[in-house]
Symmetry: C2
Subunit: 239 residues, 2 copies
């Protein structure tokens, strides 16, 4: 059931059978969520961390004026809120953006892992570090790229991450976010988000219809995005 997590972690280093067993035992329950449902509420102190088995989820914060900023997108195999194990209090919410299948890792079990399985601990730590890298890539895209380039960068990143967990189909992938939700990722208005998407379409870089994105010209898309996947640490080496 948690094979996507294995696929994810093994992008960075190999896991032993014992470690795989430990990860399986860590999962205390599972649950399904409908699109729009909150997995975790801001300000709460969950006793477990959520692993996405299938579906799309997002971390987000709301501002006083009621606008929303999505700070991360999570897919199959991602530990959405592993950081809650040590941060304790959630500083943001987590929402399902499609129907989701989620498993939960108990924080007591995680603590036992840190006491008995140093390599596995480093692998989980690494998982949170990679998501930190992704945050930094997003900051650069938000601050110093055109909006079209920013969108292209996110599409490149999602494609690569989804391919790692076998969720792509050739150059296409399922992508359930509406343009309004995507606007909350880029920090744009809905209207302008639409216009930016049309720019990428007009240049023949992507098609995006009925919840499916297809990359039509990977090389050009990568160029527009200045996409360099180094930050995803996709090389298996001793960690």
């Amino acid at each position: 059931m948690i094979e996507p997590l294995f696929l994810n972690l093994e992008q960075h280093d190999t896991l032993s059978d014992e470690e795989r067993g430990v990860l399986r035992k860590m999962m205390v329950k599972e649950k399904r969520f409908a699109a729009g449902e909150d997995l975790v509420v801001e300000g709460s102190r969950p006793p477990y961390s959520s692993l996405v088995i299938d579906g799309f989820t997002a971390r987000y914060k709301l501002t006083a004026e009621g606008t929303r900023q999505i700070t991360a997108l999570h897919i199959s195999g991602d530990f959405v809120d592993l950081h809650a194990f040590l941060l304790k209090t959630m500083d943001h919410g987590v929402i399902a953006l499609s129907p989701c299948h989620v498993a939960f890792a108990d924080h007591g079990e995680l603590k036992r892992v840190t006491e008995q399985y140093p390599h596995l601990t480093r692998m989980l730590w690494l998982d949170t570090l990679v998501h930190g890298s992704i945050h930094r890539a997003w900051i650069v895209a938000m601050g110093r790229r055109s909006k079209a380039s920013h969108l292209a960068h996110i599409i490149c990143e999602l494609f690569v991450r989804l391919r790692c967990v076998h969720k792509t189909n050739g150059w296409s992938f399922y992508f359930p976010l509406s343009q309004g939700e995507m606007a909350d990722v880029l920090g744009l208005s809905l209207v302008h988000m639409n216009r930016v998407i049309q720019t990428l379409r007009r240049h023949g870089l992507i098609s995006w219809a009925s919840q499916t994105i297809t990359i039509l010209d990977w090389e050009k898309l990568k160029d527009v995005a200045e996409f360099d996947p180094t930050y995803l640490s996709l090389s298996a080496e001793p960690r």
Copy 2:
């Protein structure tokens, strides 16, 4: 010498004398950097992680057009690139923004820590997680706040972080960044950065002259910034 690190970590949980000793032994060398010097070069694979003893440093990425985005600011007691221990390849550079005193932790020693000191390992992991939280706060500020609010948020955050390591003086603190460097933090042009700073001055929220920022009205500044320090995890509790 590494007391700022202790001050920093003890915001989150207590350290034993043994743990303090382990941290001291981890530091294999120290060095001073002039303002403008690179501590770490993008793409390198450093065998140690940098701890700022004193001074201001920044992580940054350059774009193809030659613009720069600063993704994080680091002060006394911050492990700038602890993540390099597991990420291996640096996906960004680190630069000194003032004269800096830096110590280096050997990655071999860090690995030994993960094998023998689970609680200390969790504390170091937590340190990287807090910086992940800060990244998310920055993403929200970049995406959904006015530029004046974004600047106010950064000033609030810096004030709180600097106070933790005793680097504030009443409502004032040393802040060596030029307006041009600050523009690379907010993702603005130099000219507009200047105008945003003047907005906060005109409203009587801050003064900023000769490398010193003074907060003139904390309550109003916090309001403008919508600053909620939860994301900094400043409560000592078992981790």
